[in-house]
Symmetry: C2
Subunit: 457 residues, 2 copies
């Protein structure tokens, strides 16, 4: 895709799409959409108005609409589907893969999802309801319920015949492995190539891998990643508490969820809370979500800055210090955030456990001390050059050095403490860190200044 | 893995591993390592000393060592391998999969990688050198060169016989698809299940998918993600400029690289530069890498704060303002970082192009204006409550409101501009943003203060 170097006189895909919707081209639309890549499609959909979204879905068959929805971003899919009449939405959802159905309905508001489920065929609705019970980041939440299993006394020939006969039905399935079950219980796994290399008369029990590696419906993303890293499977069977085979998770889907999780942590650490934000969303929604984060921060900031108010007299006598207050605040934030990022990363990799706080503090203290000394010396030098006053240099350097040490230790510690308390480190670490380091930094600089005040003025 | 709730009297895996290395248990080690999950192994390896690393690899066969290295984190693998004598390292690398070989050697320093390559068998070394030519985040950089292809005039029976005969050799292969080639050129793709359902006498050309979707060796990660989102393949063939089949990329590997890319952006935005940091790394390396980022920031901070120095007289007369300077600086940073995060995300998804600056500015201006008004009103209210001076409230509120608007626009704009200049938005956006917003924020508050100075004192 070289959309950037295309002939500029050609229309952009989103302009073409708009035109086709305008014209109500029921026949051209599906093939035009089919000719776009997932990225072009996501971009085009993001440039349509709410009204055009509804018209677009109305012009497509449920199958074509389902395909479109599976290609665009999750957050766009929700936007597209939520304003449709439940019956139309249900017809589309009914055409989707089981994991995509659960994803989409799970992202809708409960009452919206319920309305769609009620308009769906009972059997499918029941299956989706089952899937919706599992939290999003568990095996149950990301598994596919489309899989192929056979009784163990089937022969290789029986299997090949079944695959031939039900060819149509299996087309949409993601068949990597065939499963062997004893009643509903999982008893073995077959790779397709093992079937290919077996003799037609052999029983599945003879050639299957017995007691195969499996995950529980409630297994976490980390447990699944761990298994896929330990072995090199493409997919794993999912069983419930009674050992019954209920679905398959694919390695690629686990990786995709991990990408989403990292993206979500990145967003939260940047203050984008309440879910993903695209600029095509309504401005009020974007503004109010961002504000929910900012308004907490402004209160914390006022709290931290109130330390300065206590030292107003000192500051008035040595006004030069006012220049250094924001520097100490910003720099401590930077040093602390580095340590926060390392802790969040090590927690995700399982390289540190929430209880190993002492180890983290020791490791961060050494880095914080070294960098504090260097940064403190730099700032002291700058102060000395500017004002020629060694006392000023001494106190700003000391305050920055001490606060860098503190920030590194705190930044390392806070994510572990939050995790131990089952809180979200990505969301809360930043504001907690900067509030404390700001307060301590202001306090250190201004109380040091009190001691040497006659030398500063 | 519930390592946290284990009996605390039991030894941790890393303690056991240390003991086994100490005892030189050549026989127990491989099976003990085999019993650990990838996460336990990564944790255990991170707690070993450099000397224990070397001893551990010396106690394992090259095969076992290769398996260990493929399971732990990339950055740990580099640490483990780089201090080995080249011949020992070469024996281990020789046992790894082609994509893991290229990954590992690509992460080493050039001279270290060259020493290992020279100690490897010529043919394998040549293959790895080929792979190393491709940038890390292209199809060539992540493809596997192990694949199975057949000439088109083979019959299904021929294929099945070949698979049976070369069973041993293919064990390590990740066979999802069989490829059909005309000379070295890719001419078709077969799914295993299509082979399974075909008649033994059919020619591959009759049952293969002709002119299959493929990627070029230089295709980017985004192009591959796009293809895997557009279609639901598990893997795609990789061809070179002449249309020759040179490898396969798996959807799971593309997803894994995307996770790594997001993690790397998160790290860079948090000021962890120069690659991943684990706390098991030498303290000097950790401190100096972090410092390289901090020292740039301290200079930028001094630059920004110098604006305050210009207004020293004003500030001296209305010392209360000193309390608000860090608040305006921090809050503008928060508002701007939100916009940066949204821009980085939209760039990654292809929902905004670097040239669409005007669209982004309009979208950010509306959010920035709304939130600026709310935050400004909040801060004005706080100032009024504290000092009872409406003029103070007016100027701090106005400065924060105006600077929030500016921060949102700048935060949206900077990543696009950096991307257009082929620079890395994740790395540079933060410091650029806060430097400009600090300068403008300080300037606005203090110059507004000059106008109403008699009312403030």
């Amino acid at each position: 895709m070289n959309s950037d170097v295309r002939d500029p006189t050609r229309q952009e895909p989103w302009q073409n799409l708009k035109a086709l919707i305008q014209a109500g081209s029921r026949h051209v639309l599906p093939s035009y959409i089919g000719s776009l890549t997932a990225t072009e499609l996501a971009l085009a959909v993001s440039r349509l108005s709410q009204e055009e979204h509804t018209r677009l879905l109305g012009l497509l068959s449920p199958q074509d609409a389902a395909e479109l929805i599976e290609q665009i971003e999750d957050v766009q899919a929700v936007d597209l589907i939520k304003d449709l009449p439940p019956a139309e939405a249900a017809a589309i959802v009914d055409e989707m893969y089981s994991d995509a159905q659960a994803d989409l309905l799970g992202d809708l508001k409960d009452e919206e999802a319920e309305a769609i489920l009620e308009a769906m065929p009972d059997e499918t609705a029941e299956e989706v309801r089952q899937l919706l019970q599992y939290p999003d980041e568990t095996a149950g939440g990301i598994m596919l319920t489309e899989f192929v299993s056979f009784p163990g006394d089937y022969s290789v020939q029986d299997v090949i015949e079944d695959l031939r006969n039900r060819h149509e039905e299996y087309t949409g399935y993601d068949v990597q492995y065939l499963y062997v079950s004893d009643g509903a219980k999982l008893s073995g796994v077959l790779r397709l190539r093992d079937v290919l290399m077996a003799l037609p008369a052999q029983r599945l029990t003879e050639i299957m891998v017995e007691d195969p590696v499996r995950v529980n419906v409630l297994s976490s993303l980390e447990q699944m990643r761990d298994l896929f890293e330990t072995h090199t499977y493409l997919g794993l069977p999912v069983t419930n508490e009674s050992g019954e085979l209920v679905g398959v998770v694919r390695a690629a889907d686990v990786q995709e969820k991990l990408t989403e999780q990292t993206e979500s942590e990145f967003r939260k650490a940047s203050g984008i809370v309440g879910g993903e934000e695209l600029r095509s969303m309504p401005v009020l929604k974007r503004a109010s979500r961002r504000l929910s984060w900012l308004s907490v921060n402004v209160v914390l900031n006022i709290l931290a800055a109130s330390v300065i108010a206590f030292y107003q007299d000192t500051l008035e006598k040595a006004i030069t210090l006012a220049v250094f207050l924001p520097i100490i605040s910003d720099m401590s934030g930077c040093s602390g955030n580095q340590a926060v990022a390392v802790s969040i990363r090590e927690l995700a990799l399982g390289l540190v456990r929430p209880r190993e706080i002492l180890r983290v503090l020791v490791k961060e203290a050494s880095v914080g001390l070294m960098n504090g000394l260097v940064l403190g010396a730099l700032l002291a030098g700058a102060a000395l050059l500017w004002k020629g006053n060694p006392y000023l240099g001494l106190i700003v350097g000391t305050a920055l050095a001490a606060n860098t040490l503190l920030a590194a230790c705190l930044g390392g510690f806070i994510p572990l403490a939050l995790r131990a308390m089952k809180a979200d480190p990505a969301l809360a670490s930043g504001p907690m860190l900067t509030t404390v380091t700001d307060m301590c930094g202001f306090f250190m600089l201004l109380s040091l200044a009190q001691f040497v005040l006659p030398k500063l003025t």
